[in-house]
């Protein structure tokens, strides 16, 4: 499947990916509502890019079976079925099932590739994984 790949060494924390994502999906430029988030750490590499790797751990714990894989292997949340319990947020091994205090349900990267087209350094890109 095609997922968003990352090369954190190239990330400059410019935030273009966050703006692209939140503007498209939530109609506002708000990095906390972006399904890809970048931040600085004091470790190596200093800049971290958080984006779903489509591992599917969240599927197992959803009590209402609102999370599933589509034919391309991408993990999707059915917004009509989701009851906003955030169990998926709690178990996400990469911290990339996001939640926001204004939103009833969580959100995540669905590998739409929009952010990768806006990244000026190719720190994010679409990549094929098994």
């Amino acid at each position: 499947m095609k997922i968003v790949g990352v090369n954190e060494e190239l990330c400059t924390l410019c935030g273009a990916c966050e703006t692209t994502c939140s503007t498209f999906y939530f109609k506002e430029d708000n990095r906390l509502k972006s399904a890809i988030q970048v931040h600085e750490t004091d470790q190596d590499p200093g800049n971290v890019i958080s984006v779903c790797n489509q591992c599917g751990k969240c599927i197992e714990v959803c009590p209402v079976e609102a999370i599933s894989r589509n034919k391309k292997g991408i993990v999707l949340i059915n917004k009509k079925t989701c009851v906003g319990c955030f169990n998926c947020v709690g178990v996400c091994p990469t911290g990339t099932m996001f939640w926001h205090e204004e939103l009833v349900i969580p959100f995540k990267c669905i590998a739409c590739a929009r952010c990768t087209k806006e990244c000026p350094t190719e720190a994010i890109f679409m990549t094929d994984v098994d």
Binding site: E60, P63, V64, V83, C85, F86, N87, G90
Partner: protein
Amino acid sequence: MNSSVEKMRASRKELARYDYKPASIERGYSGKTLYINISDQTIKSKDVTDQMKDIFIGGKGFGLWYLWNAVQPETKWNDPENEIVISSGPVGGITQYPGSGKSLVVTLSPLTNSVMDSNVGGFFGPYLKFSGWDALEIQGKAEKDIVILIDGDKGTVTIEEIDFQPGASHLISEQLTEMLAENEKDKMHISVVSSGSGAEHTNVGILNFSFYDLRRKAARMKQAGRGGTGTVFRDKKIAALAVKYSSLTGRSNNPADPAKISKTGVKITREINKFDNEQFRMRQIGTANLMTPMNDYDLLPVHNFKYGSHPDAVKISSDVLRDRFTQNMPDGCWIGCSLSCCKAVDNFELKSGPFKGEKVIVDGPEYENAAGLGSNCGIFDPDYVIEANFYCDTYGLDTISTGTMIAFTMECYENNIINKEITGGLELNFGNAAAAMELIHQMGRGEGFGLIVGQGVRRMKQIFAEEYGADPSFLQDIGMENKGLEYSQYQAKESLAQQGGYAMTNKGPQHDEAWLIFMDMVNNQLPSFEKKAEALHYFPMFRTWFGLQGLCKLPWNDIVPEGNAQTDSPEKIPEHVQNYVDLFNAVTGKNIDKEEMIRQSERVYNFQRIFNLRLGFGTREHDAAPYRALGPVTVEEYESRAERYDKQLEEDVGINPAGLSIEEKIKAMRKYREERYETLLNVVYKRRGWTENGIPRPEFVRELGIDFPEVMEVINKYI
């Protein structure tokens, strides 16, 4: 759809109907209660007043208040005036915090003849609220079996006759769910409350609350286990209740501050994900994780609470049970519970009874079932424990009382108090799984010796003394009941605080009020009477609070946050206490602190104590414990811990055990322990604001704001 469900659907006969517009939920409350009198088929809506919310909060508080107003001092459990009240609570129904879907059942108990409350999972309470009802109040008695259906989607309440057999609770849940659902997904929107044939023949009937398990495609059940709520239900000829609500969202409870709820919920869910596997393994084993540590610490009830451990306990250990449970399933009894402790054994093939040869899902065994039905009866066979668990549930029998009742009969049998003639041929020696299983089937069928056992330990003591000439004082010593309710499955003998935690309870000896064994005995955190009294004030009040809100106690201390050991009071889990304060405030928009939280409970707890008084109970004499719960009754019991007891005699009692016979040592130990228990009552009563007779003092009752004229009238009789 199978033919029996088609037949049920065709047979539906509406006896009464009430159409309503479901009230919108405001900050955790619908503001309405559904009252149904099944004698005359009245169905009406009652307002939930601000005073009710302020004083009684919800859940058990609402149940007690409605029941108080429904009954008289002389009302008995099987009078039509008695009610079954079911209510969740203001926090109940949120999906973001684990353990937030509980219902509280309140009624007069056939075991204690006084007020009973039982806390149960399943979807019913939250769906009831979101269908527009903070509480369901059922009064009266029907002439024929009826079903009450609440449809929160359509806004209808109906009382119906439906042609089906009400004997097996798992089938009732399954068939009614099937009958009411429009498709597979729709089953998730239904919850059924039912009992079984055992509830008709015994005093220990339970209510099973269903929750639909999407992955197993089955209506599973959680139990309102204690005190015979199912017996009242079947005596009223209620075959089932069902509620349907299909619009659940993360905002159904319409809280004042949803962001704070989400934040608190995400925090604890991450905590559970990070620490559960190294702490209590609730997601793997549920409460059965206690089997091994209880045996290791000599606290597992063995042979009717004689002993605290057994070499064969390893056969029903935590890990043995874990291997029987299906792993990696979201086993929450309410939607979104990340502690997920509601484990199940799948595809279990039954070896006995009416469903012999069928493969079933068994909900549990939880700790209480494995300890009560297993070790306490000397049965260390996991297959027996699982099968007995299944049949107790579907017959509608309380596994805790059933375990303690069978263990009692086994000790009586081994002491020749009862024999094969009396038991109808059952050789009730400790460890006889076949005989124990047959006894459970007899309770389910209403036959033979099962009819006597099913009346409970208190009645058995009377029967064995009056009809079979048994020594009443020995039966009093070994019959593990207090207030008429059987003890739950912890060995309290070596923990004075837990002895009080059990026998000073409002409803009878159930560990949901106070579980202090580890603090007191293992960790020695309560060395003085004052510290024990403080714990026996704080913890029963704190734990009462869960039952006011629609919450489960387990996510409070069955997961421990990082850094807890470094806090001022690690036993209270301060961070989690704050979580609950935050949740309450975030739902209701109020602004309580942890002190007001305890005050909320004190109001309801003391009201319940006074309710007991009103019904002729609730004084000091009713807080007496059978000696088996305080110390060694028999020679073999003393000998099993001779070193410990001899040391206590020497160091604590000031008696040199050398040269004394075992009987003399038992006597000296008994005098010491009974005196200590009486001292404990004195200090705890004082701390709780009660007189030496256990009566809440009038000035304290006024301070709490529960000084209604009829309440003061009750206590003034005792002052």
